[in-house]
Subunit: 438 residues, 2 copies
């Protein structure tokens, strides 16, 4: 998205994004591929040099020469014919978008050939197969997409893949990872989600490190859905997180992903064959034992409790099949136990919802820690009303995907409560991990 | 709330909570005050020993003797006549509830005399004055309570107090602290909120450490609203957090409170006169310069973005005067830039709200990190629609209280945007703090 002026200038010279050009902005000539403008000033041309770095050159007064047109966009199916051990499934995100600047096309690297081109080291780690399921920003994904991913993983595992890697945007990666953890049980192989916090056109991108560690982890003896992302600000290693425990905790840092109320499964670095187990995980189930259950009810709302929240707001949710409250502290919303006339309790509205057959599940906006609704009167009143969650140490996002999945299995309130409070995929720890930090 | 059996047993002996008793459970005699049962087994009597520790003794087969009835409940006004330097204002919470077990009454320690009884060291730190504003669980508080607190602080400072300490429940302490930061500007003295994560009847309660450090901090040269809470799992020291930066990040740990996207103002320990500045803060403004502005609009909703969120959900918020989105990543909600037919974009609904004059403010559910809506198409589309927040590094709760306050000042959309994006009380850092962790 360059300015109109620049676009016309380029059009006149028959130059498009992806073409090899030479630009002389007065401070020497630069040769490279014309990149699309992602951000910044409108009159700056962005060139990817052959060393991989991007450079911005002021358009004003620069001389621009076309050296070579980009190769035509590939038209073959976005699926390779190879049947390697590790299935790489693409959902979008920045992780593998490197190649789009080489061809000028907007699709990410996805055929085995393209992936090997983008991540040359992949070859010495594993034989691969690959498929693009869709290409979306992860904030656009919903339960329908979770089903597609779960089904595709099951297909690949049935078809002989010994591990799966899912390339995914980072924004809602935690939601997808936990949803898949419920949809794919008794896994005979690890399912590893991977993404990149930094656009792959930035020198600070961690996409290669994450991707290769994901493939490396997908070969291990793990029978769980995991997320593999940078663990530190350096390029030292990645953490392999349990799918039901992982959360994006920073908008931009490369070490944004953290396990909550649990240690990560492992610290991983393919470069020196490091796979340091940090907390026990499920091993691969026998081949053929995979239980694929994609039934999901997406008519579930997530409600953030806050001062001034109105009873009417809760009441307006009567058309949902389930509600996750992101409460305060140990699992609270305003319940006005002292009957103060200046308090606007939402307890009656919560009770109404539950009495009408809509399960209401608690989680905490503190993110870390375990719910305990027995300590204070507020919690006890909410429990009496039927709110589900006392004692659980799930994160809000996992409580959400779990309720969607549970409501896909049953609408019976008693059964919903039982299933919610039964640990299925590590989302409820019996005991809290002993951790210095949290 | 002991079992019926125990209650009858106690009644027969005319023993009530707060009385001094002697219990012989077979392993020696213990003398102390009978405490109310907060949690745990129903047949355990809880006794507060004179050394301050609580002990649980099995009722079954124990011998119990009444030594002394609790002193009758005080009836005088819940406000002392003393005019000490530090004003201690009570809002409720567990911080000062120790005394209720000594008198058998359910109100917290609040007169200067009671406070000195509960926290004997307070005397050598400062002369105090005190007042109970109300006594609520903090999850029941709303904008009306914030106004009462702000007004009371202003009154005390005008009346000669040289610092203020606010005893407050922990659940929504962050919301109140940030709300007060906007309502009380150019402060001639520090306003320090303090609470306790553990009930004061538990040996692990940190209420004394927090309280004394709060009083100690209230004497310092600070002109901001702060929160003083335990910094570590040990009884080492407290952190003094900026009111607009602090967040409860764990349901139960004593070190639950953290500064987000910023270092705390100081590490504090009154015991060895430690006041280690960690990040610069505003100094006391000259006496008389305080600006009290309690105008608040509480008709503001907070919406947590999640997969499956419905456009209709956003549309149903048209009666609010403002909305804070708790978006994903750098500040996103589903906007479907690729026009995928299986994506349920909320962008049109967001645009409708804004076009009808309702400001929509962005924040991120990652909690840490800065919003940047210029990197990806989703963010750019939301900005084009008029969503406010690009570049801000506020936490969701502070974005919320700020929008309430800004909408109390003006309804003009342009002015709302200007005020929201102007740093008022440290809620927007120009530069990100360099921090090893986050």
């Amino acid at each position: 998205m360059y300015s109109k002026k620049i676009e016309e200038f380029l059009k006149k010279r028959k130059i498009s994004v992806g073409d090899r050009i030479e630009v002389d902005g007065g401070k020497g000539k630069f040769e490279g591929l014309l990149m699309p403008r992602i951000q910044g000033e409108a009159d700056i041309l962005v060139i990817k040099l052959d060393n991989g770095y991007n450079i911005g050159i002021k358009m004003q007064g620069a001389e621009v020469k076309l050296l070579e047109k980009a190769k035509p966009k590939k038209t073959e199916a976005r699926e390779g014919k190879e049947k390697g051990d590790i299935a790489i499934l693409g959902c979008g995100g920045t992780i593998a978008s490197k190649i789009e600047y080489k061809t000028g096309a907007v699709y990410p690297a996805i055929t085995p050939e393209e992936l090997r081109m983008t991540f040359p080291d992949i070859e010495r780690l594993a034989s691969i197969r690959s498929k693009s399921l869709f290409s979306l920003f992860s904030e656009d994904m919903n339960a329908g997409h979770w089903k597609i991913v779960a089904g595709a993983v099951a297909d690949e595992l049935k078809d002989g893949a010994k591990g799966a890697v899912i390339m995914h945007g980072t924004d809602t990666m935690g939601y997808t990872a936990s949803a898949l953890s419920f949809m794919l049980q008794d896994l005979p192989a690890p399912v590893v989600l991977v993404g990149a916090q930094r656009s792959s056109d930035r020198p600070s991108s961690e996409n290669e490190m994450n991707m290769l560690n994901a493939v490396y982890s997908a070969k291990k003896d793990i029978g769980e859905v995991c997320v593999c992302m940078h663990a530190s600000m350096n390029d030292d290693f990645c953490h392999l997180h349990r799918g039901t425990r992982v959360r994006k905790m920073h908008t931009s840092r490369r070490d944004a992903f953290r396990s909550i109320n649990s240690m990560p499964i492992a610290a991983v670095n393919y470069m020196n064959d490091r796979f340091e187990v940090l907390s026990p995980c499920r091993k691969r189930s026998p081949a053929g034992s995979l239980k694929l259950n994609t039934k999901m009810n997406d008519n579930v709302a997530m409600v953030y409790a806050h001062p001034n929240i109105k009873p009417e707001f809760l009441k307006s949710l009567s058309d949902y099949d389930g509600i996750v409250l992101v409460g305060t502290g140990l699992g609270h919303v305003s319940a006005n136990p002292f009957g103060d006339k200046n308090v606007h309790s939402v307890l009656p509205a919560v009770r109404e919802l539950i009495d009408s057959g809509i399960p209401v599940v608690m989680s905490s906006q503190t993110i870390s820690g375990r719910l305990c609704m027995r300590v204070y009167t507020t919690g006890r009143l909410l429990m009496e009303a039927g709110v589900i969650g006392d004692g659980a140490d799930w994160i809000p996002e996992t409580a959400y995907t779990k309720l969607c999945w549970v409501l896909g299995q049953t609408k019976d309130m008693k059964r919903v409560r039982e299933l919610m409070l039964t640990n299925i995929a590590g989302e409820i720890n019996e005991r809290s991990a002993l951790m210095e930090g949290y």
